[in-house]
């Protein structure tokens, strides 16, 4: 019995299908393996470690939810959670707004545009530790360039990094400064993908600059903005290096700037309490998850997809 031509074609396409799937899996394998080894496994390992008493190099002991009980019973966790959320409030709206405005400006035809783009992106390629060291000098209460400049205007500047009232804002300023260039590039890419025909058509209809910005630019850029805000929020909650370098534990402002990641580092790598530190990390993850969930709900209402 010979197969009909149709059957034969089916068999060939099935075989080809299988072959294609194999290739697809093979090609994504490096990423999947990397994700598994570097993200998925450590994630579950952190969850498990948060249930252990793990101190120093000694043996570990399963203690159930005791780390969580201790954590939520401490004033420190609530204080640092508030600090973290404050940091998000201080950095995300200002940072994204600045990035949007700068991107809109850099999307116009101005002289030296490429130079400006380079300058704004520059902080992204500098190591955070170096950024922190430079800003420590800028913020130095007595000799720092910022207070020296204020002094010329007759203002005695605050002790930026050691006054509990200004330290977190100072850290936030550094955070915004170092992230605005990256957000700017993303938004700029979004702006450039908007077809010029919309603007031409609206011009014919007599729309002014403001109408164009709010009726065309904002809706069409909203998917990019959504992504930028989402990433910026996550990164702000996870912000560690600059704050850690700018405000040390002996600093009187330490308590008002220590974020969740800072106490996580102190617990894990200075006090060597890995179990407790993992509980802190899980708690930060819950916060990030909750905020992200809210954002995805908001996305359905506010974000416009072409």
């Amino acid at each position: 019995m010979t197969a009909s031509p149709v059957q034969r074609d089916l068999r060939i396409s099935k075989a080809r299908n299988k072959n294609e799937w194999l290739w697809a899996y093979l090609l994504i394998a490096p990423t999947i393996i990397g994700l598994g080894a570097l993200n998925v496994y450590p994630f579950f390992d952190s969850l498990y470690t948060s249930l252990l008493k793990s101190q120093g190099l000694g043996p570990t002991k399963f203690i159930g939810l005791q780390n969580y009980a201790k954590m939520f019973g401490s004033a420190e966790i609530w204080r640092t959670t508030l600090n973290t959320l404050w940091y998000v409030v201080l950095t995300v709206p200002v940072g994204v707004f600045l990035a949007l405005v700068l991107a809109a400006l850099l999307n116009t035809k101005i002289r030296g545009r490429d130079l400006y783009r380079g300058i704004y992106f520059l902080p992204m390629v500098v190591a955070p530790a170096a950024i922190a060291m430079v800003w420590r000098w800028i913020f130095n209460a007595e000799n720092g360039i910022l207070n020296q400049a204020l002094l010329m205007l007759g203002i005695v500047g605050p002790k930026w990094l050691s006054d509990p009232n200004t330290a977190l804002a100072a850290c936030a300023a550094v955070g915004v400064w170092s992230s605005v260039g990256y957000d700017l590039v993303l938004i700029l890419a979004g702006l450039q993908s908007i077809s010029s025909t919309y603007y031409e058509a609206s011009e014919i209809d007599g729309a002014n600059w403001a109408q164009q910005f709010f009726r065309i630019t904002v809706p069409l850029i909203s998917p990019t903005l959504f992504f930028v805000i989402l990433m910026r929020m996550m990164n702000s909650i996870k912000q560690f290096d600059t704050i850690f370098m700018l405000v040390k534990p002996e600093n009187p402002a330490f308590k008002s700037t220590a974020t969740l990641m800072v106490i996580f580092f102190r617990e894990a790598f200075e006090k060597f309490n890995k179990g407790y530190a993992s509980a802190v990390v899980v708690w930060s993850m819950v916060i990030i998850g909750a905020i992200t969930a809210v954002q995805f709900v908001a996305e359905k209402k506010l974000v416009y997809y072409e």
Binding site: Q55, G56, G58, E142, S162, P249, P252, A253, N273
Partner: protein, 406 residues
């Protein structure tokens, strides 16, 4: 073409197979430490050893103090410790307890030339787990220029607490941003010496001493210099600019400073011809905190014999002279101190070795690395005005007891 390619591939394979054989003759051991000031001294020791042992390569690795212990712990857990590394009293117990350090008892080393406190420090249950490297003490550094301007005689060995406070007040000139003394929050070169001068204690035989009246009195005196007497810059000022930088910039007249800082002080042109040293002023008794570092080996080093041989060399008189000549630290080997002293002809560096006579070993304990960060937080609460000295010390004492009990 194909044949050529195949031949090339084969050649490559053969070479990679041969590579380990070629290297097998040479042994490379890694040598990790934290102090960049001492890098020349350590390199000199490594080179001297390599000169006598062709076929052995010693690779030095410097990591700053803050990251050194984080890195070392990760390495210990991953089984990838450096072959030889510096050990400190704060962390020793943790590594000893976890069996991470190479037992060098069977070297049958002669420990008589070293300060007994340092040798004992690195002895764990009868096993010697590090070779003494050096010791350091704390002295009083003062800015001669500021003293001359005020017409006040320099500090000397007759000074006591009252005198220090009195002169500090005389030298304080807030309008010009100059303070008499730097009472920064610090343990080893801060209030620890003062506590022992007042016959208090920090931690001895597993018992914390922060609840003792004498300890609290000393910490009160130390923090009062900033908070009540106003003769020292405050915590906010030190957060912007550390004690040593302020002293070197001529903003404070006197400071407690460890001997390990001398190579940095004397190489700073802003200060090197303007400062001198005196022994610490006395309280009820004389005391200066001393601490000794040690050279340890990794328990799992693939070359234990080479490592032990190198450790023995590091402890030798020759290596001690090398580290002293390179301004690294006061060598642990008795009789070699003068090589260190001779490096600093213009200052009274002899104050450091002089104080070993009444030196007090830097407090240590098996769980110190766990409670030290808590100590930082509690004492910081005194400086910020959140807690009184008694509250902070009692809270701290209770937390240490809790950690020690676990």
């Amino acid at each position: 073409m194909k044949k050529l390619l195949a031949a090339l591939l084969l050649l490559c394979l053969a070479l990679t197979a041969l590579a380990p054989l070629a290297l097998a003759e040479d042994v490379t051991i890694t040598f990790a430490f934290w102090d960049t000031n001492q890098e020349p001294g350590m390199k000199a020791i490594a080179e001297a050893y390599m000169a006598g042992h062709p076929g052995v390569k010693v690779e030095t690795q410097v990591t700053p103090w803050d990251q050194y212990w984080t890195k070392l712990e990760a390495a210990a857990q991953g089984g990838a410790l450096p072959d030889v590394f510096w050990m400190h009293s704060n962390q020793f117990f943790k590594y000893a307890n976890a069996g991470m350090l190479l037992d060098v008892t069977d070297l049958n080393y002669d420990y008589t030339p070293y300060p007994p406190g340092v040798t004992k420090l690195y002895n764990y249950g009868g096993a010697q787990l590090a070779i003494p490297k050096d010791y350091d003490t704390i002295a009083l550094a003062y800015n001669k220029e500021i003293f001359d301007k005020a017409g006040i005689p320099y500090p000397d060995d007759t000074w006591d607490w009252a005198k220090l406070r009195e002169v500090a007040a005389q030298l304080t000139d807030k309008e010009n941003g100059v303070y008499g003394f730097a009472a920064q929050q610090d343990t080893q070169s801060g209030y620890y010496s003062v506590v022992y001068q007042n016959e208090g204690f920090i931690f001895e035989n597993g018992v914390p001493g922060f609840d003792q009246a004498a300890t609290q009195e000393a910490i009160q005196w130390w923090t009062d210099l900033t908070l009540k007497d106003g003769v020292s810059p405050d915590a906010a000022s030190f957060a912007d600019m550390g004690r040593d930088d302020q002293f070197q910039a001529g903003k404070v007249a006197m400071v407690f400073v460890g001997s390990w800082m001398m190579s940095s002080y004397t190489s700073n042109e802003q200060i090197n011809d303007k400062f001198d040293l005196a022994v610490l002023p006395q309280g009820k008794v004389r005391a200066s905190i001393y601490n000794g570092l040690g050279y340890s080996g990794a328990y799992n080093t693939p070359h234990p014999d080479v490592v032990k041989d190198f450790l023995a060399f590091c402890g030798s008189e020759e290596a001690n002279i090398l580290q002293a000549q390179n301004k690294a630290a006061i060598p642990a080997y008795a009789g070699t101190e003068h090589y260190f002293v001779e490096n600093f002809p213009n200052i009274n560096i002899g104050a450091y070795p002089e104080m070993i006579a009444y030196g007090v070993q830097f407090p240590f304990g098996p769980n110190k690395s766990l409670w030290e960060p808590i100590e930082t937080e509690e004492i910081a609460a005194v400086y910020s005005g959140e807690k009184t000295v008694a509250q902070a010390c009692n809270d701290l004492n209770a937390q240490i007891l809790e950690i020690e009990a676990e």
